[in-house]
Symmetry: C2
Subunit: 224 residues, 2 copies
Amino acid sequence: MPELKITYFDFPGRAEASRLALHIGGIPFTDERLLVDEFVTAKPSFPYGSLPVLTVDGQLLAQSAAILRYCGCLADLYPADALEAARADEVVNVVVEFVAGLEEIGGSAEEDDDNGVQMRVLDFVNQALPKFLGGLDRRLQSFGEGPAAVGAGITIADLAIYVCLLNIAAGAFEPVSMKVVQGYTRVVASFEMVRTHPKVVAWNNQIARKAADVRQRAEAGMPN
Amino acid sequence: MPELKITYFDFPGRAEASRLALHIGGIPFTDERLLVDEFVTAKPSFPYGSLPVLTVDGQLLAQSAAILRYCGCLADLYPADALEAARADEVVNVVVEFVAGLEEIGGSAEEDDDNGVQMRVLDFVNQALPKFLGGLDRRLQSFGEGPAAVGAGITIADLAIYVCLLNIAAGAFEPVSMKVVQGYTRVVASFEMVRTHPKVVAWNNQIARKAADVRQRAEAGMPN
């Protein structure tokens, strides 16, 4: 197994699906989480100047979908069947595209003195969002009964959906909230399957313990 | 080999890389090209209401990057080595992201009575564009000598780069022109390798002959 390091920030964002893939697969990796200052210093060393980056035996790999696919293959969370693999890629790419739209809306929403921006946010919530969630839900229905997005078990497609909704639930894309997801039953089934997966529960507990520890040390004036 | 149909419009856009992959691999497929009216009628039957769509033994597959990867695997234009495969995915995804930005600029540029829009176009040309092309060029340099983007031979990464530049050269993203590509030597080397590939030359001649035939029949008042 290659030596792996995922470099990102200390939140789920675009790296969590790959972290979870490796964690579920029981594959050791360094979970490097940069502070903004550290990112700014190291930025020129990252391909395209952005994160996440996966380091594989010292070689850099960029683009969250490419990283997730690679980690998914290592972790046996990528379908062996060619058409199911392509469906998993389809779902991952649709989610990446949707998150790019959400990020733009999140950025725009802050400039709330601009009517044009507010209209774009409203357009996105009323049109792009149901188009994505409705389209995805119908696709998952056509792929099978579920709860997994593609095939019989958890794949990178479920991880991509889970992390997208996790970011929405955490308020990362306000004003878009989890309310918008209600009714898309196959999407929610995939999300719930990942959320309640024992390894995911363990991972979330572990992250929460680390965060509590960092807070406690900060309050006590101790170094991390 | 499955029965394949690529459905898109009668221009390169987001389908040409997949068409070329199958053509280079000698894999038979139906090259379905819809008129806008036909697309509008059939739109509800496409996943997410958009094109391209690949039909594999009657099963639909959406998202151009997923389609390209699937076609690349069939055509033996996808690296066997896991890290090289991930690099090819990285390049394909970076190009898809960049083309999404170009499309937005192309759309914005038409509203030329709006100073804000003109500023966004200028920002894109001066910042996002060199960031993409410079970042991609440095990545390809780090991957090897070339001319192929990844590894020793042509892959889906080269096809994605080629079609992106082909669309720029055809004026699809005005005011962005091929001038912006000059100087990015590894990107240009990959593009030139595909452009001069005998199967690509044959494909382009075949498309040009078809287009000329359609024009001639239209001028003579004959049905296509």
